[in-house]
Symmetry: none
DNA sequence: AATGAATGAGCCTTCATTCAT
DNA sequence: CATGAATGAAGGCTCATTCAT
């Protein structure tokens, strides 16, 4: 008799799923979606491939659910807690955001989400729900940073020009780095962020 | 049957191979190595997939030979013809290089090589000869630009700091963009290069 | 925990098994043996698939036990209760049998058994015990109806000819219909039986 | 140098496809659609499973193409060449049709088509094109025989009643036999057809 | 040289079966 | 007794590679 109540079981089940989703995010991010094999996710999560299908119905669902989970779990909770700190200048806030996006506790996850979204953006024939997801996710970054760019331009901190285009360039650079060399942020993070923001800072 | 002499045949053969390698570079660059199918290369080259195996023995060999060919054919010949123009400042030369690397006439090839090398760098279990190849290619960019960075620092045009690290950041940004969003360079190229170089330019 | 005595427990256990076997017969009949999934049986029986394996050791055993159970429980008890009614003519008895075989109260079961046996007959590599089972079941129908055919021929009600062959044709037609279109019997059953028996009835 | 012209190659290709389709019809008919494995078709056709996919893109397409091919190849050509023989009575024509449907030269194919259509009819979620195909095929038999039934009723040869329903019963019996016991027709075919048509013949 | 027919290894997914609770 | 988590064998399909023509 193992008298576990329903709550405990649900808890366990949820952890199992999380375990798989965490693995999925990591492996998807590292290898790209097409090249990620279920067996890789299973191995990373230390479960059999069969079990993966016990919790998810398809590779696509794994991807979708994992993204959803990761975003809920990581993004909303923490990503912008400090972004509305009106004590500091817009440019400073942008730096903090940049810094933060790559240094939060569970870097692997949020980093992974970023890279996966990258990967998705360049994919054709994306199913509608993923298209929306990607757009939403993209919007998220844009909507968060756009006001700061405009504000910075008004205060003379940020160079003139089409704010949206400027933001586009900045985000392309960031996502490019993440896709290309995630280890980039390991050392001297603040200094590197400083250099990156020089792109847009007025002298 | 027009009796062609050996030279003509060799010529023809070489053209055929070049045709395939050109296609390979393009398709490898666009899709990544693993995701590139022989049939895609064959289609791009407008030959049957069987013929591809007439000239090359395996997918890996196509890759290797195509890279070699592309580098020999394009890189050394043209990439730096203007880089030693001592009329312009180091920073300007860096801009020109950046611009050039993405806009030269045969962009597709050199750009492709760049992206393929990107792709290779993130691959594990690379056979030794490719490892060396990748390293050599990386070295090439570094060796070409490093002097310009130092020179720029000396002349006060480029911000202080470890020149090698600065160059590393700059190249990471560039390669990230290419891996991530090659279309980035389509419009307003000069303006974008201008913004990118702001990262390293002293005010 | 209400302390139940052994008998009650046995009773309960038996009911559980019956519940599963009833479900199995139904699902096997509807979907065929190979296409029946354990999960379908479990769902039909409203138990978990794990429990199915608590009572049976394999899919094959479920099939075998269910058939045995169904035959014992239903066939002998009821199928021919009226067949020896000597008030009516042999042809009439054949009609009643035909009618009965598809319309008796617990149609689902006996009908199901019929269809499963159909299914088994067309299977190769049947284990020996099932071969015998199928043969025995076939024999059952033959032995029951054969005397009626002979009797009918003697009384001039049924057309002349090899009684066994005639019966074979009749049973092939019946079993074909059941295998092919069980819904056939839904409407106008008596009329349809009337038409079918015209095959063998002397005018 | 194997100077085969295009025609020869096309011919060969067509034969290969036909070889696979013939095998497909046989295996699909014997095992049902779901239970038919590509490997079974490949084995029957004596080719590798890979080659099957060289000619067809999916199991479904194999099914669809094979049915189309079989119908074109066999049905139209021969099935009704004699059906419009106005020398003989409607009932006789029905007998001839029945006989013919099971004894034409390439029995395996036309028989197979019949069984596969049977199988399809009882399938849910059939893709639209197959639904139409099945209906069309069903219509074919109905449209061919229906006039004969009506004619026979008018001439008093066939029993009264809803001609459509009568035909339905007759076809259900036929298709049931084919699904259930194709070997039924091996011996004494004419006699058996005679008995079957007694169902509908007036005395 | 050139084509495309042919093969088989490998990945996604399903499902019978076993096991921990 | 009961549940559902966990495993792995097997089948559909893709694609690199080989081969006949």
């Amino acid at each position: 008799m193992a008298p576990q109540n329903k709550e405990q079981l649900d808890q366990k089940k949820h952890e199992r799923k999380a375990q798989i989703m965490r693995a999925a995010i990591k492996v998807f991010a590292e290898n790209g979606i097409k090249l990620t094999k279920i067996s890789m996710i299973a191995k990373e999560a230390k479960v059999s491939h069969g079990l993966v299908y016990h919790y998810f119905t398809s590779k696509d669902e794994i991807l979708y659910a994992s993204l959803d989970w990761a975003v809920e779990e990581h993004k909303s909770a923490k990503l912008f807690q400090e972004l509305n700190d009106h004590e500091v200048s817009p440019l400073e806030q942008i730096k903090q955001f940049t810094l933060f996006a790559f240094t939060e506790s569970d870097t692997e996850i949020s980093n992974g989400v970023f890279r996966i979204i990258q990967n998705l953006s360049s994919t054709n024939d994306l199913p509608e729900h993923l298209v929306q997801f990607v757009e939403k996710a993209g919007q998220f970054y844009i909507e968060s940073l756009y006001p700061l760019f405009v504000e910075g331009q008004n205060s003379g901190e940020i160079i003139k020009g089409d704010a949206e285009e400027l933001l586009g360039i900045y985000l392309t650079v960031l996502s490019g780095i993440m896709a290309d060399d995630p280890a980039f942020w390991k050392d001297n993070t603040e200094q590197k962020v400083g250099i990156l923001t020089r792109m847009i800072s007025e002298r």
